[in-house]
């Protein structure tokens, strides 16, 4: 600790703190324009000048100068005020005074400081700039004329997002923020640059001219897309969510969001939202009152409850709140008496609910997101971890670039993560993850690198016995990863003091199920990486409440049908009533034709959704439900983080929350009312008994778990290959998450349609270019898809995201980790 005096206050701060940090800690505000706590100090704007007794004679920038023992700092003297005024006056020389039409007005650092320092008249006058404004991309409008050269956009894009879309170009007064070759902006569209821009040089197009900053009601909530659980602030006006607002003090991610989190909010107030319950009459869905719809559902369920509860099945989306999932389970398991409930197609949660359940005795990851930056070595399964969970991707970027974390990736394609400094990507043939992981374990055993702690864990002998059967040479031949690489990776992993494995799961990754999770658990246990900070295994659930759905056991636990069996049951007629809460199996589940047939065949299908999805179109009753912005409750994100969401707007149309609907149905079935408020329900959830709902606050809480480890040997098999065909991999596109982002507007502006991505060599062979169309034929169907040529895909492997409803890739997938397809023009 270092002791110093700031404005007569005695302060003790960390050795690496700057004067600015020290003043902030003491509650003294030093004005800044170019400083951001997430970024490396810049020192360009010269607003934060202070006087230091020991360095008299010149003013010192507070944001770049480290503290030293006995420093005496003054933050406000006449000379300082003069210098700051000069900076503002100089900036205002070129800055256009178009505050009335600038969206940043009210939230503009330059405006606020100008007001604070009473720069009401400028001593100077000069020509303004006339840079061309970049209107050409759908999400980010760049007006260089308003730029004050703080460089935050370029820095955040480089340091945190690791994309590097911007840089300073030119010199002197002509200096500006430029894009490559000074062209139009073409980037990931995460919008981080907008969030840090202190003025209105970068503005979010979807929010342009929608409202003034001061008129917005700011509601803190949690993002409803992926499982990262980013906190966000919704900007609300007149019961409409108009934007997301950056708050650098929110969450582990310091307010950092990805593109869909920042720009994907528009589904909340979409015109397409369902507003009334619909019931199928004479073959068409017709609007009815809530009472009629609910009565119809209750009657059907009541009948089934008495006669044949097993003919009832229910699918829930892991986007519901914990409280809703709790009621969902209560309705179907306890009241109706069926065990056929599931979510995420069954396979997308197996890693947690079956894999980790057996290996660790818990349905959650033993590690947390904050472990990423504390680790020494990260082993990421698939580069797709960035696409599925972009903000976790930012954490990985920061870990690698700031903390020197050794990043190793086992992946069937390359990707953004693989391009990070010193990252090693072990590119393998599709579907070989399990073989590789077992091979790593074998090397660790063979080279006596296993941790001592492993000996005490049950099942070690059986595991070693299984590993004895692994033929490393064969693995190297099958996977395409050389023996040396496997050895090197295994050694590095075992020898790293702290090593963390990241496994993304989700509907797009059928291969990331129970076995892979267990093989990875075994590996981590063998190397002794479980149970310490910065180490372990982090399973990245796909949706905002995937972890909650696993915790609340929204899956068959007593021999009931899982999702696949429910679909089969519908097809065979064994399932007569299907209740679908928010899932969209037609688009999101593999083998679309089969799912469509099943839904058509089922006796009575109820769908609760925000939109009339392809699944809802086949339902008998459709109920409009509330989005995350219209209700309260809790989500549990990756790393067991329970956080509250808050109601921001009134319900759209007549929509009700799933919680209200479920409580109503339960009341109708049992004749007894149930408590339907979040607080009461949360307290009833057994697995969260360690979490105090009232104390959740803004930060949320991480619930504790006890790991009871066990080795569960899983044998890898050599994936089948088909000669002359391409391996089709499914997964997430960076801009999308599940099927909800299709209504999010922002994501659709940058990634509007189903595409197939292939490498340059394959594109050359097929003679196709970006934007051409290719016929993709599998055993179950054929699609014509737009081509995207990139550097990510190795030869013979193609990729397609699963989110899209039109030409959805799931109409040709098999439900295995790889679907073999033939491509033709």
């Amino acid at each position: 600790m270092v002791n110093l005096t700031v404005d007569d206050k005695q302060i003790a701060v960390e050795r690496d703190a700057t004067i600015y940090d020290a003043a902030k800690a003491a509650g003294i505000r030093i004005p800044i324009l170019c400083h951001d706590k997430k970024l490396h100090p810049f020192g360009g704007c010269r607003m934060c000048l202070v006087e230091v007794e020991q360095m008299k004679g010149r003013l010192i920038p507070a944001c770049t100068t480290p503290v030293s023992e006995g420093m005496i700092v003054r933050t406000m003297t006449d000379e300082i005020i003069k210098a700051r005024k000069l900076v503002l006056e100089l900036l205002l020389l070129k800055h256009p005074l178009d505050c009335p039409v600038c969206d940043a007005a009210g939230d503009c650092d330059l405006q606020n400081l100008t007001y604070e320092y009473k720069v009401d008249a400028n001593n100077f006058t000069d020509e303004k700039f006339h840079w061309e404004i970049d209107y050409d991309n759908p999400l980010i409008e760049r007006d260089q004329n308003r730029c004050i050269h703080c460089g935050k956009c370029a820095r955040i894009c480089d340091e945190i997002v690791s994309y590097g879309a911007y840089s300073f170009v030119n010199r002197g007064i002509e200096a500006k923020i430029g894009t490559p070759f000074d062209g139009k902006l073409d980037c990931e569209y995460c919008g981080s640059c907008i969030s840090v821009c202190p003025v209105g040089a970068l503005i979010a197009k979807p929010f342009k001219f929608k409202a003034r900053w001061w008129a917005l009601n700011k509601v803190k909530s949690v993002c409803s897309y992926c499982g990262t659980g980013c906190q966000l602030t919704l900007g609300v006006k007149d019961d409409k969510v108009l934007t997301t607002i950056y708050d650098e003090d929110q969450g582990f991610h310091n307010g950092q969001l990805c593109g869909r989190g920042r720009f994907g909010y528009q589904f909340v107030n979409s015109d397409e939202r369902l507003t009334t319950p619909l019931v199928r009459k004479n073959g068409t869905l017709q609007p009815v009152g809530w009472d009629e719809a609910l009565e119809l559902i209750s009657t059907k369920l009541q009948e089934a409850r008495k006669n044949d509860p097993s003919a009832v099945a229910a699918l829930a989306t892991p986007r519901l709140t914990n409280e809703e999932l709790f009621l969902f389970r209560k309705l179907f398991k306890d009241v109706v008496g069926t065990d056929s409930i599931d979510h995420s197609a069954g396979y997308a949660h197996e890693a947690l609910t079956a894999g980790l359940k057996e290996s660790f005795g818990i349905t959650a990851s033993p590690s947390q997101i904050v472990d990423i930056q504390k680790s020494d070595l990260l082993l990421v399964i698939k580069t797709d971890a960035y696409e599925t969970h972009p903000v976790i991707g930012f954490e990985i970027n920061l870990g690698v670039k700031r903390k020197g974390v050794d990043l190793r990736i086992i992946s069937d394609k390359t990707g953004k993560l693989a391009k990070l400094p010193k990252a090693v990507n072990y590119l393998h043939k599709p579907g070989c993850e399990l073989l590789l992981v077992n091979a790593l374990a074998k090397v660790i055993v063979d080279e006596n690198l296993a941790a001592e702690s492993a000996a005490a864990i049950t099942g070690l002998d059986a595991y070693k016995g299984m590993l004895a059967g692994v033929d490393l040479n064969q693995v190297a031949a099958v996977t395409g990863v050389s023996l040396e690489s496997i050895r090197e990776l295994a050694t590095a992993y075992a020898k790293a003091e702290k090593a963390l494995i990241l496994l993304p799961i989700g509907l797009g990754y059928p291969g990331h199920g129970k076995e892979l999770a267990q093989a990875l658990s075994n590996l981590a246990l063998l190397a002794g990486k479980i149970g310490q900070e910065g180490s372990g295994l982090l399973v990245l659930g796909e949706k905002n409440n995937s972890q909650g759905a696993a915790d609340l056991a929204i899956h068959p636990t007593a021999g009931g049908r899982d999702a696949a069996a429910i679909i089969d049951g519908c097809a065979s007629g064994a399932v007569k009533i299907l209740y679908i809460a928010g899932e969209n199996p037609v688009v999101a589940y593999p083998d679309r034709a089969k799912v469509e047939k099943a839904l058509d065949n089922a006796g009575f299908v109820v769908v609760l959704d925000l939109f009339l999805t392809d699944s809802a179109k086949r339902a008998d009753v459709v109920l409009p439900v509330k989005s995350f912005a219209e209700k309260c409750g809790t989500f549990t994100s990756v790393g067991r983080h329970v956080q509250r969401i808050r109601k921001a707007i009134k319900a759209v149309g007549e929509s009700r929350s799933d919680r209200e609907v479920l409580a109503d149905i339960i009341a109708r079935l049992t004749g007894e009312g149930v408590a339907a408020d979040s607080a009461t329900l949360f307290k009833q959830i057994g697995c969260y008994s360690g979490v105090n709902y009232d104390a959740l606050g803004d930060a949320g809480a991480i619930y504790p778990v006890n790991v009871s480890p066990k080795f569960v040997p899983v044998v890898g098999s050599v994936p089948a290959t088909e000669e002359g065909k391409y391996a089709l991999l499914t997964g997430s596109a960076l801009y999308h998450c599940g099927t909800m982002s299709l209504s999010g507007v922002g994501p659709m502006l940058v990634c509007p349609e189903q595409y197939i991505e292939l490498g340059r060599v394959d594109a050359g062979k097929l003679g196709v270019n970006d934007g051409d169309r290719l016929k993709v034929r599998s055993a179950s169907g054929e699609l014509s898809l737009a081509v995207k040529v990139g550097l990510r895909m190795p030869e013979g492997v193609v990729f397609s995201p699963y989110h899209f409803a039109d030409a959805s890739i799931n109409s040709i997938t098999s439900g295995k980790s790889v679907t073999w397809v033939s491509l033709s023009k």
Binding site: R46, L90, N123, I173
Partner: protein
């Protein structure tokens, strides 16, 4: 007069390695590697009182001593040959005549600092110098004076010439390091100072060409001998003064430090041109406040010039005669700095063009006394910029307002430039 840097020079052409060696070249290197420890070399440079010739005049040995001996990781030496200060051309003259002196000086510096790889950052326009250097390095390597195991001493070091895409700001040592790393040439925040964390995060020393070229002499002849070369006791060594402007024979001359300004102009350069009389001069390149006739007797050494209210800088003396409009001269200089600002910090990026505008107004006769006051204020406030560029640019403006205020006011009052 004894010459240190020009002693090997041949008229009209570059010296060859055999001529250089015949004249005693590379003997100091042999002597250092055989007889002296790196610490002794460093100590001798400290004792010699050699001060950086690049502009700031910081003692070279002291700069070296800031590199912690026990710092892990590679360390670097960079020779700054991005000579872009208007009025300065000494490094070019030196390197076009004799690149070996620099090569030898750099090897000695590398030896003293424990550097294995060093760079010469040379300005794009200096292609002859760069070619000379490349040849000199190849020849030195061929002669076993550079590369692995130099002269069988066990010490290895190498030199790379980097012909930069250069801009004025690249001469700032931290911007130079950024440029060398392949980044945009913006200065870096100090601290951390380059001696702790510089090029690629390693300890780095950046020295000027002339500073390094002095080292062989210091090693060969000793610190005291070097000190005694200067004209006054507080100075040490020789200095290249490059004189330009209204003198009879402008040129680069090696003269002892501490020599009076008048002697440089009258003796070395043959006095003022026909019909010209001395009005003012920039004593050390474009970023230094003016000297006037009253300063003609000032001994040209770092401290003495500083006491007289200016800086010795690079030793680039630009002389103006009585027909020069000082406002116009200053405007010309500030225009250069405004153009060469990197655009990083507000006072420099926005402030310098504004000063240019003020001077333009005054020069055109549209100025007011308030603008003169505003100019005065800027001289003080632009000191708060990120690096030394803006304060340097304010040097001549400062001199203008201090010594030629009457001339400025005359512009305002008469509503036109009196020299038109």
């Amino acid at each position: 007069m004894e010459q240190v840097l020009f002693r090997h020079n041949r008229p009209g052409r570059c010296v060859t390695i055999s001529e250089y060696r015949a004249g005693g070249g590379f003997l100091p290197l042999e002597k250092a590697l055989r007889e002296m420890s790196p610490d002794q070399v460093q100590q001798r440079v400290i004792d010699s009182g050699l001060r950086g010739r690049g502009g700031a005049g910081f003692p070279t040995g002291k700069k070296w001593s800031f590199v912690p001996r026990d710092l892990p990781g590679p360390r670097w030496l960079i020779c700054n040959c991005d000579e872009m200060e208007p009025g300065t051309y000494k490094d070019r003259v030196l390197l076009e005549a004799n690149p070996y002196l620099l090569v030898e000086g750099m090897i000695l510096a590398c030896y003293a600092l424990g550097v294995e790889h060093s760079f010469i950052f040379i300005r794009r326009g200096y292609e002859t110098a760069a070619t000379n250097l490349a040849r000199a390095i190849a020849e030195a390597r061929g002669a076993g004076l550079l590369g692995e195991n130099i002269l069988a001493s066990g010490f290895s070091c190498d030199i790379d010439v980097h012909l930069s895409a250069g801009r004025y700001i690249c001469g700032e040592e931290t911007a130079l390091m950024n440029a060398l790393e392949g980044r945009r040439a913006n200065p870096r925040a100090k601290p951390p100072f380059p001696a702790i964390k510089g090029l690629w995060g390693g300890a780095t020393v950046v020295n000027n060409v002339e500073s390094l070229a002095n080292i062989p002499f210091i090693i060969a002849e000793g610190a005291d001998r070097f000190r005694s070369l200067a004209r006054i006791p507080e100075a040490s060594g020789m200095k290249l003064f490059c004189v330009s402007g209204h003198v009879r024979s402008p040129g680069c001359h090696e003269l002892p430090l501490g020599i009076p300004l008048s002697e440089i102009i009258d003796d070395a350069c043959g006095g003022m041109r026909e019909g010209s009389s001395f009005k003012a001069c920039l004593p050390g390149g474009a970023s230094t406040p003016y000297f006037t006739p009253e300063h003609l007797s000032v001994p040209m050494d770092f401290d003495a010039v500083a006491r007289a209210g200016s800086r010795l800088g690079t030793g680039g003396v630009v002389v103006f005669d009585q027909n020069t409009c000082m406002v116009r001269a200053t405007l010309n200089l500030v225009r250069f700095y405004a153009r060469e600002s990197c655009g990083w910090c507000t006072p420099c990026r926005e402030g310098l063009p504004y000063v240019v505008r003020l001077l333009e107004e005054i020069e055109a006769g549209r100025g007011s006394l308030e603008q003169v006051a505003l100019l005065q204020e800027h001289v003080r406030l632009l000191n708060h910029a990120f690096c030394a560029l803006a304060p340097g640019a304010m040097g001549p403006v400062d001199g203008l307002l201090r010594h030629f205020e009457e001339e400025v006011v005359e512009h305002v009052i008469r509503g036109r430039c009196p020299f038109n």
